[in-house]
Symmetry: C2
Subunit: 156 residues, 2 copies
């Protein structure tokens, strides 16, 4: 492993980061849906057309996973990330369909040093996926734990 | 499709349902982690041992997806489910490791008829995965939309 480039101090409240674009692949989506979320509107074309969604659409967990990969590629892979305990919002405000081109983004909404483990910083971030620059299809707000630059220097 | 057996009326507040057991498969977990969440502690044995987690562990989205499959198999596949707009809690209070045997469960915490679409019922449910009957490793609270028995009869 190379040394992290992104630490707690690099993710202050208010920072927005574009996380790139992802296109929803039909076959991968369907394979995911069949394995993890085989509801009719996720795996059966005919049932999906008759559903509220109007067509075969992504499991919300597939959508979340697509966002996660964008976040890892753009931020976490170069970071001192130490995982996430969870969050207080997850939303799928519109269905996601095969071929959709989604822009991934994030915004840091709060950042604080951990009281119990001062070598750690906790950020609250909102992650989003947006279609056609207009329709938000995924939103999640959760906590990320990151090493501190000073914390590392103090213990290293 | 056969007619649904589980409608909004079958999921009143307070109802608890055991959703079966799932064992975390090492190879499937690693493949998921590599595709969607390739952070060092999810894909690299050595880095994982040195991390806070102490070993290679599941992406939180893999854990969520395992719970979802249990929910679909036990409840949604026989139901009038119409998807979910999201929720207000998602938590990974402890890491999940290959070979873990997890018990899935759910509890309905609230249920109400949709004001804008009275043929729909909205339930709020908490889903959980628990290891060894003691350690909660996943918790999510979100809304599920279900058809109403009466709503169906009225429009059918």
């Amino acid at each position: 492993m190379t040394a992290p480039e992104v630490w707690f101090e690099d993710l202050p409240a208010g920072r927005r980061i574009a996380l790139g674009t992802v296109v929803v692949d039909h076959d991968e989506m369907l394979a995911f849906n069949r394995r993890f979320d085989p509801q009719p509107f996720h795996v059966d074309e005919e049932a999906a057309r008759a559903s509220l969604f109007g067509g075969l659409c992504a499991s919300g967990w597939f959508t979340a996973s697509l966002w996660m990969r964008c976040y890892v590629d753009s931020v976490l892979s170069r970071s001192a990330s130490m995982g996430s305990p969870g969050g207080d919002e997850i939303a799928w405000p519109a269905p996601v369909f095969p071929g959709d081109r989604l822009e991934a983004g994030m915004e840091v909404v709060a950042a604080r040093v951990s009281a119990s483990r001062p070598q750690l910083g906790l950020i609250t971030l909102t992650g989003t996926l947006t279609r056609d620059g207009a329709t938000e299809v995924f939103r999640a707000r959760f906590t990320g734990m990151f090493g501190r630059r000073d914390g590392d220097a103090a213990t290293g």
